[in-house]
Amino acid sequence: MTNTLSRRVGRYALLLLGLVLLPSAAFAQEVSQEMFTVNNTWMLVATFLVFIMHLGFAALESGLTRAKNTVNILFKNTAIIAIGLLTYAIVGFNLMYPGDFSLGEFFGFAGFGLDPGAEGNTSAYNPGYTYYTDFIFQGMFAATAATIVSGAVAERIKLGSFLVFTTLYVAVIYPIAGSWKWGAGWLDQMGFYDFAGSTLVHSVGGWAALAGVIVLGPRLGKYVDGKVRPVAGHSMPLATIGVFLLWLGWYGFNGGSVLSADPALVSLVFVTTSLAAAAGVIGAMAASWGLQHKPDLSMVLNGSLAGLVGITAGADTVGVASAVVIGLVAGVIVVGSVLLLDRAKLDDPVGAISVHLVCGMWGTLAVGIFSTNPEHAFLTQLIGVLAYGVFCFIAAFVIFFALKASLGLRVDAEEERLGLDVGEHGMEAYGGFQITQA
């Protein structure tokens, strides 16, 4: 099954090219069993780190929304990882890495299910990992895109409709979009660069979040008489746990995207990732202290994520100082974006659009500005950003709209007031605590 092998080659072609430019790129296609084992081990470590991001999202999203919708959010996030992994096994993986494209370099499908083939367990498949490692690492990424949407549409979307959306988006839209770059499709061939998914994961999720927010409309009582009425989250500790777990997971998200344990690259990625996150915190702290006169924890938390999303596209290809700048800017951007979206009456309870879409775009474009690789060009990056925008936004909008017209997308006002926990699940998140219903 050399086909299986070849279809993944495209993905690292450029990467390997990049490696050659670096002094430490000691490993070639042929690696010892020892090197194969350590590479694969690192990729599996990265895999479980990305897994824990799903808990991060669950905690962050429930922390930044009200107590009465907590069961619902936790339920969605638990379902998403399950749906994401299963659909990725059935169709997603083979849509994203089709090997041969059947429709230009826009669409291809290598068939249903998983098949490691004869070489899937050896370094002949890839010097960095086995077939199964490849699948499970990518599968953890896939579910992330849908999880991003979950927070933006929280506190008002019907559970059933959301699950249908998630299934379609993660099984079909995300992998097709992904194939354009990581599957060696047209954008890859054009020289577009997105190391670990500022665009391919975060913006792809962010565009769907935006579409969902538009189709759903704001939560009851959020915008009253032209004024923004804040709807405070119910637990900042939960939100903080979420953000730290996401940051932790990012070491796998970015660190694993090296696709091997290469010491030079992985350690560089750890440094750029860490410093961008730190700079995002500082950027958001400054912006929020400056604009709001009080340092807002929820903004600072968003700031670290903004820095992380921002560095994701170029974590292996920008210098340390550039990483700090990228993070700092992202931290400022995210605060501005949250404020502007509220002006535009786009109600995103957790700031998902600002963090993942806006900073995802920023990060992708930043590669065109800061990359040390002369082949990365701002224009190509822009084309990529726009292409994903058009495809993902339209796809998500159409699915949401179809759901609205069929199953219905939004719970009724009575249920929204009472909370989706009781409405959708007949259950409360906190037993025995006195919680204000408003």
Binding site: R417, L418, V422, G426, M427, E428, Q434, T436, Q437, A438
Partner: protein, 112 residues
């Protein structure tokens, strides 16, 4: 002086407070309570066992007002709190013998 005590739906609280303020009531106290009455609770399921949550969350507003304000205050509440559906709540009025403002020791209507 009279104590006006009203059981209302929690989400009309801000409107009721505004209504009372407009009617001239300068102070009030709010308690979170659970009500039981015509409005039914809802059913929950936990690990396979169904059960009914009989009590519905309500807010209780208490305001002590001078006698001449009772009418206006009571009306302000009923207007602001009426949604027309079961469970809108009640207003109760009862006598208060004395009021003291702790800070100043003022008594009676002056203390309100």
């Amino acid at each position: 002086m009279k104590l006006i005590s009203a059981i209302i739906k929690p989400h009309v609280l801000d409107d009721v407070r505004d209504g009372l303020a407009k009617a001239g009531v300068q102070g009030l106290t709010v308690t979170e309570v659970k009500g039981f009455g015509r409005q039914k609770g809802h059913t929950e399921v936990y690990r396979g066992a169904e059960y009914t949550v009989d009590f519905v969350p309500k807010a209780k507003i208490e305001a002590v007002v001078a006698d001449d304000l009772v009418e206006a205050a009571s009306n302000a509440i009923t207007q602001a709190a009426r949604t027309g559906s079961i469970g809108d709540g009640k207003v109760f009025v009862s006598d208060v013998g004395q009021a003291v403002r702790i800070r100043t020791g003022e008594l009676g209507d002056d203390a309100l």
